[in-house]
């Protein structure tokens, strides 16, 4: 059996998964580890101890001199935080940008990207990075702030023992809206149906992310599974999105964070963190209270993380930057620019509201440990199932 065939058989699809499994694992609950030769995919119900093929760096090494290479999403780290880090550790940080995990992993595998540290990767990406043997295990002695991480994420389902990853930001999917145009109570009554309301024609957007937006249509129909392989459910979600398109002529992009504050959109299905980012794009004189967020009962909750590449030239600096960004004050400074919610226990809803960092109108956009636990997880789909999702997405986006 070829390695690829072997790996193919190990791709799994699970349904009805809640993120809460990770908390269970963290609390020492039972879990059946799935450790696989070369490939590891964890799910909340089936957390995984990832295989380790190399040693972590030794304790107490000195920082490297020179440049720390980072691979990151655009605008996903505060340049001011990076400048402080550079000054503190006497190094230079150089950042390359990726815009999809798929493209980033492809470029990591073929050597186009050779970063020391990757920021913002998610669990589906992790499975591939480990399969490609691109990561090195972390040495926690350099990450003394690891204890600041949300307890439920210190032992996540996708990486039991946090061997390779340290959580970066958390977020959930929901609906952002303009409070000066839409009554908050309308969501309690109509929920996801708000996105199908023709009165928002031309003033509505949905995420340009097929897994998220199709899953949203499924949740609206009462399905509580973000990874279904049921062709009838997938087809129905596609048909529902087409009816959304016909009713509202939506924008399909990831620009809610600029379009909503500019007043170009009344309502947008988006990631909760985008609303915090949107605060920075409000025109002068416009109150932050114009932005609101409805956090659905049934939705996807996620986190991303930081990890170090196997062939990192500056692994000590990479560990030190992870530690730096896991410090509460540094994370708050980083959050000021990125907008998203750091996955730290110390950065609570109360702290963010009481310090005026987040306006009251956006309190629902904050992901509490309870919301994270009840959120649904997305896992890698089998190619044939993935093709069904893509087929429906094409039917929607092709107009």
């Amino acid at each position: 059996m070829q390695r690829r065939d072997f790996l193919r058989n190990l791709v799994i699809t699970t349904g009805g998964i809640t993120v809460g499994g990770s908390l269970l694992a963290a609390c020492g609950g039972t879990s059946s580890n799935t450790t696989v030769d070369g490939l590891a995919i964890g799910t909340p119900e089936n957390p995984i101890k990832l295989p380790v093929t190399t040693e972590a760096i030794a304790d107490g090494l000195a920082s490297e001199s020179g440049t720390l290479e980072i691979l990151n999403w655009a605008d996903y780290a505060n340049p001011e935080s990076i400048a402080i880090f550079e000054k503190q550790f006497g190094c230079k940080v150089s950042t390359s940008i990726y815009d999809t995990e798929e493209a980033a992993i492809a470029k990591l595998r073929n050597g186009t990207f050779k970063p020391d540290l990757i920021l913002g990767m998610t669990d589906t990406g992790l499975a591939k990075l480990v399969a490609a043997d691109l990561l090195q295990p972390l040495n926690k002695s350099y990450i003394t702030n690891f204890g600041n991480v949300i307890k439920g994420l210190q032992n996540p389902y996708y990486d039991l023992g946090s061997q390779y990853t340290v959580p970066y930001f958390i977020y959930g999917n929901g609906i952002g809206y303009r409070t000066d145009r839409i009554d908050k109570n309308a969501f309690a009554k109509n929920g996801y149906d708000m996105l199908w309301d023709a009165q928002y024609n031309g003033k509505l957007g949905v995420l340009d992310a097929y897994r998220d937006t199709l899953a949203m249509a499924m949740f609206r129909a009462g399905v509580k599974d973000a990874n279904t392989s049921d062709a009838a459910i997938i087809t129905k979600a596609g048909e529902d999105l087409i009816s959304l398109r016909e009713a509202t002529n939506p924008k399909v992009d990831i620009l809610a964070y600029t379009e909503m504050p500019a007043g170009n959109r009344d309502i947008n299905f988006t990631w909760s963190g985008d609303l915090f980012t949107a605060l920075q794009y409000l025109p002068e004189g416009v109150s932050p209270d114009v932005l609101g967020f409805w956090y659905p009962e049934t939705t996807v909750a996620k986190n991303d993380f930081m990890c170090i590449t196997k062939n990192a030239k500056s692994p000590v600096l990479a560990h030190q930057l992870i530690n730096f960004l896991s410090d509460t004050d540094n994370a708050m400074l980083n959050r000021e620019y990125v907008g998203y919610q750091p996955a730290l226990e110390s950065i609570t809803v109360d702290l963010l509201i009481s310090t005026g960092t987040i306006p009251e109108s956006l309190i629902d956009a904050l992901v509490t440990p309870e919301k994270y636990e009840s959120g649904l997880a997305q896992v890698l789909l089998e190619p044939a199932v993935d093709a069904l999702w893509l087929e429906q997405w094409t039917a929607f986006t092709a107009g």
Binding site: T100, A131, N249, D253, G399
Partner: protein
């Protein structure tokens, strides 16, 4: 070689396989082992499935944009050749200068101008035109294409018109043709090769364009084939489908090119006679 090698590489991706774990394209370099299953599905979708609408819309948008380019560009090229006099060079430079700026930057500038409180939108309101340009409108996308590509029509047309023997038009006028007849019966036929070349020159990039729609609309109702190629190659787990769409578009453009080559050959024969 510049065409054949990249085209072969695209074909190897299109008729190859997908890595089941990494979901990357695994090119099949041996043509004897090419698998056409995915290609058949994509062509079926283009013919009768979800991609049909995108294909038809792309053709309509490009045709509309080309017609507008001709309506706007031909008189400009004609004016430059016949009436610009000493200002010819200056006017040519003025046409070209905006295009020294990167295409994306120019389109982003238009996004600002066309936004609800943008300068252009406010200016049009003076004339009672209150149009939401960035509302996923086909008009905006077509005008964006016209703006983006019109210099590539004007310049070859200008070159063609400048080489015309204008004494023939004078002769037509001497023989009793009015200015409209002289234009229709002499100027247009003589500049046919230039018109076709300029048309092809702008049609080729327009068919593959995706960023104009991305920046000015982002609505599924204005999605073009280039947007689907971009999605499948860059943001989906089916790069194969993107590669098949590239081949389908290339075959279509090849048809247009053959028409152009046939047309220039005929023109050349007529000139030789």
């Amino acid at each position: 070689m510049l065409f054949a090698v990249p085209f072969y590489a695209v074909a190897c991706v299109a008729f190859g396989t997908i890595d089941p774990i990494f979901r990357d394209a695994v090119p099949q370099w041996n043509p004897l082992a090419w698998d056409f299953t995915q290609a058949q599905q994509v062509f079926a979708s283009l013919a009768t499935g979800p991609l049909q609408g995108v294909a038809v819309r792309t053709i309509i948008y490009v045709l509309c944009a080309m017609i507008l380019c001709f309506i706007i560009g031909f008189p400009i090229a004609y004016f430059l050749v016949r009436h610009a006099g000493k200002r010819k060079l200056l006017l040519l430079v003025l046409i070209i200068v905006p295009f020294w700026v990167n295409y994306l930057m120019r389109m982003l500038a238009w996004v600002n101008l066309l936004s609800n409180d943008g300068l252009f939108t406010r200016f049009m309101r003076i004339f009672g035109i209150n149009y939401n340009w960035l509302d996923g409108s086909p008009i905006t996308v077509i005008l964006g294409l016209v703006y983006g590509y019109i210099p590539f029509l004007i310049l070859p047309l200008y070159a063609t018109l400048e080489r015309l023997d204008w004494r023939l038009i004078d002769a037509a006028r001497d023989l009793g043709a009015n200015s409209r007849q002289a234009f229709r019966l002499v100027t247009i036929p003589m500049s046919k090769a230039g018109l076709v070349a300029a048309g092809i020159l702008i049609a080729l990039p327009m068919f593959g364009d995706y960023y104009t729609n991305d920046l000015l609309s982002r609505s599924p109702s204005t999605e073009m084939i280039g947007n689907q190629i971009d999605f499948f190659l860059n943001a989906s787990t089916q790069p194969q489908t993107g590669a098949v769409l590239v081949i389908a578009l290339s075959l279509f453009l090849l048809l247009l090119m053959s028409f152009y080559l046939r047309s220039t050959r005929q023109q050349s024969r007529q000139t030789t006679r």
